[in-house]
């Protein structure tokens, strides 16, 4: 959470700098540092860890385990994550400053020749340490989900959120070693004087390949837990099982598999062989199909249901909105010819903020709200929740929607001129930032405030949820007529098949 505040303030800082043309609040180097740290922290130290943190608590509950398979490894993973983040933030205080290359750390800007400051090396080491932490986590979670399920939790009845975590962890296993390898080679360049990224034989393209082979699965790692959360919240809020559950899981698996084969779409402008670009354009378009299927499945879960509108539900609704908008803008980028213009501009920034900041952040907060009564046995203030949701959603859109109109504005520029015509759009966005940031913070604080109330068992299941982590009933004992400790159907594990349960 602390990292969210740091990275969030960096975001606000950036927007402030861009509020007016020719602003001199931050000098260009500082701006680049801010950009880099905002990106790295948000993606790697905030979004994913929030998801994993929720999973750390909820997955064992969902599968009936007492804890993760390797508790000490769990703690080690957490503390290395924490300290790697401390190292990263600390890197900007070293003489010469920290990394100023953007979160993508492109070569050869990242070599010692063009980024001589030791802060940049420290940032790379922090990345490597995070990779270690993540690997430990994935070992833990995968082993837990495979081995520590209690009786009755068969693969078929595994909850959706746990499925999404399992897929996330598998992707992490696949993607982070490549980041670690890249960081290792870069560190070797910077400390031992090797020339992996400064020579023209390896150089930019080698870094691009290594980084994006990690980078693309990484963004799916960020978003998959969010999808799992949305599914859970929708199911409970709508009081019915997931629409076409098997197909849904199948599509989610397809997205996971395909995500490792689309990464070159980040390299459309590097001048590599055009046939390669065509191939990856096709794979990128291909992955959009199961993903859209996932979204449609989630929406159709609301069909012919009985929806209780609550704060978590609203956040997840917003998440569906942002993932659809973000998703289609992403599909547009899958065409190389369009991407030539999009690449490196604010269109891309808009796209990924919609899917990452929008979908993931909203879904994660929705998940926190949803499971809060279970975790803390306290109920938050629903009215404040809904109000802060509305304000932050409006602010979010004011902040990011203008980005799609700023196709001509390059990324990571510290200022712009009056004549570029971008002034009003930028100002609008900054206004949005000032609305979104505080509102979102309040939404989170709303949860913290609830801790001041006394805990109470009556809060243990305010949604009348039927999933296993709420009821404690893992083996699916047939039909039941009571609403609280309802039985679970043998196919979905979620809701009873009683259509006889009556209309009043």
């Amino acid at each position: 959470m602390g990292f969210l505040i740091v990275a969030g303030s960096f975001g606000e800082l950036m927007r402030t700098q861009l509020a007016v043309p020719n602003n001199t609040l931050l000098d260009p180097f500082q701006y680049s540092e801010t950009v880099t740290l905002h990106g790295l922290l948000m993606i790697l130290w905030v979004l994913s860890p929030l998801g994993v943190g929720i999973a750390n608590y909820i997955v064992p509950l969902q599968i009936g385990a007492k804890d993760l398979a390797f508790p000490r490894l769990n703690a080690t993973s957490y503390f290395t994550y924490l300290f790697s983040g401390v190292l990263l933030v600390g890197s900007i205080f070293l003489p010469g400053g920290g990394a100023a290359t953007g979160w993508t750390l492109y070569a050869p800007l990242n070599t010692i020749q063009f980024s001589p400051q030791s802060g940049a090396t420290l940032a790379i080491l922090a990345l490597a340490l995070l990779s270690v932490s993540v690997t430990m986590s994935s070992i833990n979670f995968i082993t837990t989900i495979v081995k520590n399920r209690t009786k009755g939790v068969t693969w078929k009845r595994l909850p959706i959120f746990t499925w999404s975590i399992l897929m996330t962890m598998a992707l992490m296993l696949f993607a982070f070693p490549t980041l670690a390898a890249g960081a290792l080679l870069l560190t070797s360049d910077r400390i031992f004087g090797t020339i992996f990224f400064s020579s023209t034989v390896g150089g930019s393209i080698l870094w691009d390949l290594l980084f994006w082979f990690f980078g693309h699965p990484e963004v799916y790692i960020v978003v998959l837990p969010a999808i799992g959360i949305i599914a859970e919240v929708f199911m409970t809020s709508a009081k019915r099982g997931l629409f076409a559950r098997t197909v849904f899981l199948f599509e989610l698996g397809a997205v996971t598999f395909l995500s490792v084969d689309v990464w070159m779409h980040h390299m459309f402008t590097t001048g590599v062989n055009y046939t390669l670009l065509q191939t990856f354009s096709i794979t990128t378009l291909a992955i959009s199909i199961p993903f859209e299927g996932v979204v449609i499945g989630l929406v159709l879960t609301l069909y012919k249901s009985r929806i209780k509108i609550t704060t978590p539900f609203l956040f997840c609704l917003a998440a569906i909105f942002t993932v659809t908008l973000g998703g289609v803008t992403g599909v547009l980028q899958a065409f190389p010819v369009l991407d030539y213009a999009f690449r490196g501009t604010y269109w891309v920034v808009g796209h990924f903020h919609y899917v990452m900041a929008g979908t993931t952040l909203f879904a994660l907060i929705g998940g926190l709200y949803y499971w809060w009564p279970k975790i803390t046995k306290r109920m938050y203030n629903e009215t404040i929740g809904i109000i802060t949701f509305i304000i932050s959603f409006i602010g979010f859109n004011i902040l990011y929607f203008p980005y799609f109109f700023m196709i001509d504005m390059p990324r990571r520029v510290a200022t712009f001129t009056y004549t570029s015509g971008l002034a009003s759009l930028n100002l609008t966005a900054t206004v949005g930032a000032y609305i979104f940031g505080p509102a979102f913070l309040l939404a989170v604080l709303n949860l913290a405030f609830s801790l001041r109330k006394a805990s109470s068992e009556t809060n243990a299941n305010p949604w009348e949820a039927k999933e296993m982590e709420w009821t404690g009933d893992y083996s699916g004992t047939g039909q039941a007529t009571s609403t609280e400790n309802g039985g679970t159907s043998s196919i979905t594990g979620d809701y009873t098949k009683k259509s006889k349960e009556i209309e009043k």
């Binding site: 750390n56 390797f70 000490r72 833990n140 068969t154 070693p177």
Partner: protein
């Protein structure tokens, strides 16, 4: 960001924090102040020893959670599954490094001839040493399964000795010779790729030696018997993996 371990059974170890702090100080020291690096190294090493000691006294071995659904892997212990998952990530990191090597080598207009640069004989000897060490570990497992603790000790000790020999030959003979000839880590891409890859492999081998050393200490302390020896099998898995990586590195650097 993780929740508290509210579910655990009240046994908390401080080692995770200490290890993390140690490693972080180590990395920080690497950048700004070498004595800090040494300090970090010492802290991490001490913490690791404490972990070993805990393992000795079996302070953290929990009883199996029953009953379980674990299809299709009911027979395997959770540590074994953990090791396999870990090995997957290791395959990927070596895969990425090897791919990077292949990429720069294919993109280079010229590359020194392997037989002229490297001592193929020594490389061959090292390969045989590693293969034999893998065999030793397999035998060690075989013996302890049958309850033969002497065989276990012999097997583990041989593996340890052979692994050490590998490192001695590589670091004590091969590398100094290469450096003397001017083939250093920053003498160009051939040098860089060789040292980085074999270096990473050597670090993994050294870590394996530490693990085998731990097993040896436990074995000599009577900590294993015919029904309790999963550590031997798991470390063995890791050891075979390190061997297999070498099977790739050897031809890639010494033969072609």
């Amino acid at each position: 960001m993780t929740g508290n371990n509210e579910h655990s059974e009240g046994k908390h170890s401080f080692m995770p924090i200490v290890i993390s702090v140690g490693v972080s100080i180590l990395l920080l020291g690497l950048i700004i102040y070498i004595p800090l690096f040494v300090a970090g190294l010492i802290i991490t090493a001490v913490a690791l020893l404490k972990v070993f000691k805990d393992g000795f006294e079996e302070k953290f071995s929990k009883s199996k959670e029953t009953p379980e659904e674990a299809w299709p892997l009911e027979q395997q212990g959770k540590e074994k599954i953990g090791v396999w998952v870990f090995l997957t990530s290791e395959i990927l990191i070596f895969g990425s490094l090897i791919s990077a090597y292949v990429y720069v080598r294919l993109g280079s207009s010229s590359w020194p001839i392997a037989s002229q640069t490297h001592n193929v004989i020594l490389g061959m000897i090292n390969t045989i040493i590693l293969l034999t060490s893998s065999l030793s570990i397999v035998l060690a497992l075989y013996f302890i399964r049958a309850g033969n603790t002497t065989g276990l000790k012999v097997g583990l000790t041989s593996a340890f000795a052979l692994g050490s020999a590998f490192l001695v030959i590589k670091l004590g003979f091969e590398w100094p010779e290469l450096i003397r000839k001017g083939f250093t880590i920053n003498s160009g891409l051939p040098g860089s790729t060789y040292y980085v890859l074999t270096g990473v492999h050597a670090v993994h081998l050294a870590a394996g030696l530490v693990a085998v050393g731990y097993l040896m200490l436990r074995a000599f302390n009577g900590g294993f018997n015919s029904s309790k020896h999963s550590g031997v099998e798991n470390v063995g898995l890791y050891w075979h993996f390190v061997d297999i990586v070498w099977m790739f590195l050897f031809p890639l650097f010494y033969l072609i």
